[in-house]
């Protein structure tokens, strides 16, 4: 269930309310003379649902009304939304009022104040209408941004003002504007349910997978790129041989060359010190060096442990300080004697050991304080110890530096070493280059794993794309259109529309009704006569809402038809003010069967039957939806049939109108 309207409420500037009661789940007819405010109702409802500007026409309504309000029936409970009527000269007002509950009574004018703005109102209504996360991405190559349907898009399907209900060119409210009609086309798949409900989530998943695939392909390219140049590996191997590193020759495959390079790289360089191993001084220095390195390692370990401990303690003391601070608030209650009666029910309270008293809290405060002090007391000692360790480390590092210098001195004095050193340096150089080359190879030389991963991703992506494809959505839409056309065809016959022997269907691309006649498809704008156009409008909207209701789609469950019978009446200027008693010159009292049918007397029998058929169809469809769908019709005609009369909720004749005449008007009297 989505939203249905309970009433429409107008608040005057001086605290009065005018309540137009509507029945949810039924047809509501408001019939009346011209210029009583019938057509403004759609604009009022639109405004309360967060329109950008207030399209209620200038005049008595805009001047006499302070707030427009509407109690709504929600799937769970009710809500009351209201919006201030724009001040004279303003186009809209941001002052919105919202109240939600299981049952919401209509507030008084004095209770109305701004509790949210228009965007908050729209967000709220979108949520309660049941519209959840959705997204429409335009096809490749189109420039418009992705669309997320909101309550405003859903409302386009709920209004048929008097000038639009007879249009041959467009079927939907506001569709004469290109952007509006495009957004209707974009949001209809979601509202109809043609889009997978998991669309947004899958869309995100698809995006992530595409990124993963791109990364995978990049890695593959890198590996293949490196591999593609086996010459570098062979060159390095040759250099290693020249430097005397004993590498094998005549290897052809890349993998073998790689293996040989790895062998070379792991040759230890310890041989450097060979000629000096007999030099006693040098040996002594080497041993000392090893010892110093070991000491350094131990000290660094201890320092790391101590620093970790210090940071833990700091964290604890920050926490404990916060606790301490919050407990200190007990100072506020110092000296206040606690009562012995329960503050809620005034019954006598026995002293409950489980609830904390002031003294309990003070004890806890004392405990936390002492713990904090212990930590704080310990902190300086820790800092001292840490400082000592750091000093020791600095000393060791200095000794290492001295040792290094002494060893270098010994080395430089030895000639044999110098010679040997050259050769060794060369070897070390080649080994360095080899190890760099080996490092730069990607860590996963196993291309097959990467390739299979890429392939897997590609299949998954293809599957997802298929699920989310336009193709799939179009299929769903076609199927839905076909289901809907069963009803529209039947109803076209009931209304005796032109071409009614042929199937009538809704085209979601062209947003119009099409009759598939033996001579080819005839869209609404190529059908003749206003009666056919109105008929198409009616059956289209009824079919759509029947679908929405039966499939629990998040579209508000009401539709407004404004003067569908207008095409059967001559222009009002010919008839004159309707239903004036010719003898007394006054407007007759409402309720008489005679005067009720007056306007319809002026039209032919056939036309009167057509009007009756039109209304009867609406009633039948609403009945078929067992009180889950609501229609509001504002009409000029007043049909003398019991089922019609039962549905009339307001009759604006004889001085009764939307806004009472005695309401004060802002900006001076009219």
């Amino acid at each position: 269930m989505s939203i249905m309207l309970l009433d429409i409420v107008l608040f005057s500037h001086d605290g009065r309310k005018r309540i137009l009661t509507l029945r949810p789940g039924a047809v509501n007819i408001i019939t009346g003379a011209s210029r009583t405010g019938k057509s403004a109702l759609i604009d009022i409802v639109d405004y309360c649902f967060g329109s950008d500007t207030c399209r209620v026409p200038e005049g008595i309504i805009r001047r006499a009304v302070g707030w427009f309000g509407m109690p709504l029936l929600l799937p769970e409970g009710q809500a009351f939304v209201a919006r201030r009527c724009p001040l004279p000269g303003a186009l809209s007002s941001e002052d919105c009022f919202v109240k939600i509950g299981l049952e919401v009574a209509i507030p008084d004018a004095a209770d109305l104040s701004r509790t949210t703005n228009t965007s908050g109102l729209k967000a709220l209504l979108t949520r309660v209408a049941g519209i959840d996360d959705n997204l429409h991405e335009p096809p490749e190559g189109q420039t418009r941004p992705p669309l997320s349907a909101t309550i405003r898009h859903a409302l386009a399907l709920c209004f048929q003002p008097q000038d639009e209900i007879i249009r041959r060119e467009e079927l939907f409210h506001g569709a004469s504007d290109h952007f509006v009609s495009q957004s209707i086309k974009d949001s209809l798949p979601y509202f109809l349910g043609a889009v997978d409900t998991e669309f947004v989530r899958k869309h995100e998943l698809l995006r992530r997978m595409r990124e993963l695939l791109r990364k995978c392909e990049r890695d593959l390219r890198e590996v293949l790129g490196v591999r593609g140049d086996p010459r570098k590996a062979s060159t390095l191997l040759a250099q290693a041989r020249a430097a005397g590193l004993g590498a094998s020759s005549g290897l052809t495959s890349f993998d073998d060359t790689l293996a040989a390079l790895k062998d070379v790289a792991s040759t230890p360089l310890a041989a450097i010190d060979a000629p000096l191993s007999t030099n006693a001084e040098y040996a002594h220095l080497s041993t000392k060096r090893a010892q110093l390195l070991e000491q350094q390692r131990l000290l660094q370990g201890e320092i790391a442990v101590a620093q970790a401990f210090a940071s833990d303690e700091k964290a604890y003391s920050v926490e404990a300080t916060e606790q301490h601070s919050r407990l200190k608030t007990i100072g506020i209650f110092e000296g206040a004697v606690p009562g012995h009666t329960c503050p809620l029910c005034s019954s006598e309270l026995r002293v409950d050991p489980a609830t904390p008293s002031v003294s309990d809290l003070k004890d806890t405060l004392a405990l936390v304080s002492s713990r904090l002090e212990a930590v704080e007391a310990g902190a300086p000692r820790l800092q001292l110890a840490l400082g000592e360790l750091l000093n020791a480390l600095a000393i060791v590092q200095q000794e290492l530096a001295t040792n290094r210098a002494e060893m270098a001195a010994v080395r430089s004095q030895s000639d044999t070493f110098a010679e040997f050193a050259d050769e060794t340096t060369q070897r070390a150089h080649v080994m360095g280059r080899i190890s760099l080359y080996l490092e730069s190879l990607p860590n996963v030389p196993d291309v097959s794993a990467l390739e299979s991963e890429a392939q897997q991703l590609r299949t998954q992506i293809a599957a997802l794309e298929e699920e989310l494809s336009d193709e799939r959505i179009r299929e769903q839409l076609t199927s839905i259109a076909s289901v809907l056309s069963q009803h529209t065809t039947e109803w076209a016959k009931a209304l005796d529309l032109e071409h009614s022997g042929s199937p009538f269907r809704l085209d979601f691309n062209k947003l119009t009704m099409i009759a598939d006649t033996p001579n080819g498809p005839v869209p609404m704008d190529r059908m003749g006569s206003g009666a056919n156009w109105v008929g198409c409008h009616l059956i289209a909207h009824l079919a759509l809402h029947q679908w929405f209701t039966n499939n629990d789609r998040p579209v508000p469950r009401f539709v407004f038809f404004d003067q569908p019978s207008q095409i059967y009446f001559p222009p009002e200027s010919v008839i004159g003010p309707i239903a004036i008693d010719s003898e007394t010159g006054e407007e007759p009292v409402e309720g008489g069967a005679e005067t009720v049918d007056e306007p319809l007397r002026a039209i032919s029998d056939n036309d009167r039957k057509a009007v009756a058929r039109m209304f009867r169809l609406v009633f039948d469809v609403v009945e078929g939806l067992s009180a889950h769908f609501q229609v509001v019709i504002t009409e000029h005609a007043d049909l003398d049939e019991p089922w019609y009369q039962d549905a009339v909720v307001e009759r604006w004749r004889g001085g009764l109108r939307l806004v009472p005449e005695d309401w004060p008007q802002a900006g001076g009297a009219s």
Binding site: G77, F97, V98, K99, I100, G101, L102, R114, T115, T116, N117, S119, G120, L121, A123, L124, E319, A320, T321, E322, Q323, H324, S325, R326, L327, K328, T329, I330, G331, I332, F333, A336, P338, G339, C342, P343, L344, L349, D352, A354, T355, P356, V358, D360, L361, T364, V368
Partner: protein, 162 residues
């Protein structure tokens, strides 16, 4: 009532009834208008005491609650979840504060008692910044709830059931 001894030391310290009742008092002061409705008292803690939520609160009450909720979609589930967990602490705070007179509970509303602001402010001056910020935010939240309408609406907006 609740068992003080069953709470962990951290809970006892951070959510102790004296501190919490000061928070509720601040919310009641901010709410004004016949006092803070009883049900909303259980929503003050979850909104104010969680640092991330507290930091994402708007600076003033001009931003309406529904708009803030739209801009911070994670706030609703967080608040609803924590409301449940904080029920025993809120109850304790209500009892403590009520018994010691910092507020009175009358007709399902919490009315701040007179003559306390001076005492509260002088003690809070010796507390950490965080305590003071909590109290200030609580006042703003009280005002915010008042602006949004009746308790049922506030609860429905936050997605909480009584």
């Amino acid at each position: 009532m609740t068992d003080w001894a069953a709470f962990s030391p951290e809970e006892r310290g951070l959510l102790n009834p004296s501190f919490f009742s000061v928070i509720l008092w601040a919310a009641a002061v901010g709410h004004a208008d016949k006092g803070l409705p009883f049900e909303l008292a259980f929503l003050v803690g979850p909104v104010v005491l969680h640092r991330t939520t507290r930091q994402s609160l708007p600076a003033s009450t001009t931003t309406p609650l529904p708009v803030w909720l739209e801009n911070n979609p994670l706030a609703r589930p967080r608040i609803a979840d924590r409301a449940r967990l904080l029920i025993p602490f809120t109850k304790d705070a209500l009892m403590f504060g009520g018994r010691h007179g910092i507020f009175t509970l009358a007709g399902a509303r919490i009315l701040p008692a007179r003559g306390w602001p001076a005492r509260v402010n002088s003690t809070l001056r010796n507390c950490t910044d965080e305590v003071r910020i909590c109290a200030k935010r609580s006042r703003v939240v009280g005002k915010w709830f008042a602006r949004t309408g009746d308790p049922a609406t506030v609860m429905a907006l936050l997605g909480v059931r009584p």
